[in-house]
């Protein structure tokens, strides 16, 4: 449980550091922060084995970190440096670290979902004990390729888990302007995909519990779908809040802030170990993370930019 807290706090603190960078003008790219949605990445990843593979989207920082991606390489990539996980050519929306099983992040909505299906197909054909997991948002299920993907996974009994982070908004459009109901899992189930909606997707323990059960089925060749209801606390891209835009209310946001992943887990931990012990534990965890972030920041700042020749290298 402490590990879950550490992982979620690490994501939060890294993104707060990125907020600082962004406000200081250091990030020349549209960052998409996961603040408020950390429980889904951390809860699902807690159910996976190291050899399992994941794919993600433009909002990929949480998945990258929760899967064990290298923080130094992440920070360098976001600054466009040669030492980044993609040598600076991928950027914030293409973060991935194949060495830890984060295979790709693709910012075109739903475009990475079939890639997870293909990874599962390869694992099945090779007889490997691996599953693939696709993370995506609620907007992705509006793309045809999502339905193509679940259809194929279902027909071929592929070891793939689909994880939909339903945060209610595709950029600034509410789900009910785009879909006939807020419940996505109900529409996935008829495709012979074992689908489950988690109403409180900010409860990391709940997410982990469901994910463990589904992963067990996936390993047996039953593709599964988890819809985790969550909420993006920052603007669609950028690091600020966006209540002033008027597409969603501050009141709605405040309800979700109360249900934020860290707060929910803190309540559980207080019951277990008491408030004062938790406070001192949190301080220790924060210190550890801060040291790691400082080191990674130093690494990223001191890293060289890519050489000019890299403009035309690795094209194919």
């Amino acid at each position: 449980m402490k590990k879950l807290y550490y992982e979620m706090l690490r994501i939060r603190m890294v993104e707060e550091k990125l907020t600082e960078w962004y406000n200081a003008g250091l990030i020349k790219a549209p960052v998409h922060l996961s603040i408020g949605q950390e429980a889904v990445a951390v809860g699902v990843m807690a159910a996976l084995k190291p050899q399992d593979k994941i794919v993600s989207t433009h909002r990929c920082h949480a998945h990258y970190l929760a899967k064990g991606g290298d923080l130094k390489k992440m920070m360098a990539e976001i600054l466009g440096k040669a030492t980044g996980c993609c040598k600076g050519k991928g950027g914030t929306m293409h973060l991935f670290d194949g060495e830890v099983g984060h295979i790709v992040s693709v910012p075109l909505v739903a475009a990475s979902i079939p890639i997870a299906v293909g990874l599962a197909l390869a694992a099945k054909m090779k007889g490997e004990d691996k599953i693939a997991v696709a993370f995506f948002g609620d907007g992705a299920v509006e793309e045809g390729i999502f339905w193509e993907s679940i259809n194929f996974a279902s027909v071929h009994h592929l070891p793939v888990l689909f994880v939909c982070e339903n945060n209610l908004y595709a950029t600034h459009s509410h789900i009910l302007q785009r879909q006939p109901s807020e419940n996505i899992a109900a529409r996935v189930n008829p495709h012979y995909i074992n689908a489950r909606r988690i109403n409180n997707g900010n409860n990391v323990l709940q997410v982990m519990k469901v994910a463990k059960a589904k992963v067990e089925l996936v390993r047996k060749g039953q593709p599964c779908f988890i819809e985790a209801c969550t909420y993006r606390l920052r603007e669609h891209w950028g690091v600020g809040e966006d209540w002033h835009l008027g597409y969603r209310s501050r009141e709605e946001g405040e309800k979700w802030m109360e249900k934020s992943p860290l707060k929910q887990l803190e309540k559980v931990l207080i019951k277990r170990i008491g408030a004062s012990k938790l406070q001192s534990e949190i301080i220790k965890i924060e210190d550890t993370i801060r040291v790691e972030i400082d080191e990674a920041e130093k690494f990223a700042f001191n890293s060289p930019p890519p050489p000019k020749e890299d403009l035309l290298s690795e094209v194919g």
Binding site: K89, I115, G118, K126
Partner: protein, 329 residues
């Protein structure tokens, strides 16, 4: 090298079989790859040997299939995705070009996508607007993906093997129109690859004709006729549209001073535009007359059997254009 006489179609079928024998990571996937038709019979030899475990009959999901293949390639496989017509590839543009073509670059070289997309250009009365496209030029627009169009039985085999064992994505567009698809030629036995180069199909001295795909056959016929008039065409079969092998064309223009490009696609923003532009840049001073192009007219393909034959380049058009270019008329 030992060769045997076989058709373009059978040569391509043999490439699939050899690739699957050589590497167990090669598999075929596509709509109808394991059904009775067997993609015009082309996948049947491989299917007979390897069966459904390595031949996946796929749902009608072109974009999805491309993504599944990218994932499988990243998972260590070497997929061959077959679309029965290249028209259907328009449904897969996102996965082909936003993903497959760019992933190696976006990953700083950490990922490679050894994916082959094999498809066909059809040409027959009645096929109409959406079943007769020849879309090579838009596919060749994108860096990061190779595009080839074989115009002989030997290249149908060698280019497909080159594609399958390339570590980057490759599109191979075969031409299903007869006489090419059923045309026989000498094909080397066993495994071999066609290099990423253009081929000088015939030596000549008066005019350089660059052909794409089946237009090679039209140019060969035109050459035979023009020889009677003492005009000798040098014919270059482009073979690969990306990477484009421009040097032999430049060398040829230095000799002939005249360029005609014949393509199975449209003219605007096309491979024929590209070749003319490259020659303008690289061999302008050697040109004795303005380059010319014979392509599809700027219209979709009509279904009517009365109109369709007027649509495609033919040997007569080549003869007439050459005569105009060398001043015979």
């Amino acid at each position: 090298m030992k060769t045997k006489n076989m058709t373009y179609k059978d040569a391509s079928a043999e490439a699939l079989l050899i690739a699957m024998e050589k590497d167990e990571e090669v598999f075929l996937i596509g709509e109808g790859v394991d059904n009775v038709g067997g993609i015009f019979g082309q996948v049947l030899p491989a299917y007979k040997k390897f069966g459904p475990s390595r031949m996946i009959d796929a749902p009608i999901s072109e974009n999805g299939l491309t993504g599944f293949c990218i994932g499988a390639a990243l998972g260590g496989m070497r997929p061959v995705l077959i679309h029965q017509r290249n028209d259907f590839m328009l449904l897969a543009m996102d996965q082909m070009f936003n993903q497959a073509a760019e992933l190696r670059y976006a990953s700083g070289g950490r990922h490679k996508v050894p994916l082959t997309i094999l498809s066909f250009v059809a040409r027959r009365p009645g096929e109409g607007v959406t079943h007769s496209h020849s879309l090579q030029s838009i596919f060749a627009h994108f860096p990061g993906i190779k595009v080839g169009m074989p115009a002989s039985a030997a290249d149908a085999k060698g280019m497909l093997l080159r594609a399958i064992f390339d570590d980057d994505p490759v599109i191979i567009l075969e031409h299903r129109h007869n006489p090419l698809y059923e045309q026989t030629g000498q094909v080397p036995e066993g495994y071999y690859e066609t290099p990423l180069t253009a081929k000088i199909a015939r030596r000549g001295k008066h005019l350089t004709v660059v052909t794409v795909s089946i237009t090679l056959l039209d140019a060969m016929k035109a050459r035979d006729e023009l020889v009677q008039q003492g005009i000798f065409l040098e014919i270059i079969d482009l073979r690969w549209l990306r990477p484009i092998d421009v040097n032999p064309i430049v060398q040829s223009i230095r000799k002939t001073g005249r360029l005609l490009v014949v393509d199975t696609g449209w003219k605007s923003c096309s491979i024929s535009s590209e070749i003319v532009a490259l020659i303008a840049e690289r061999a302008h001073g050697y040109l004795k007359s303005a380059p010319r192009r014979i392509t599809l007219p700027d219209a979709p393909c009509p279904a009517s059997q009365y109109l369709e034959p007027l649509y495609h380049p033919n040997p007569e058009m080549i003869v007439q254009t050459v005569e105009e270019m060398v001043g015979k008329n």
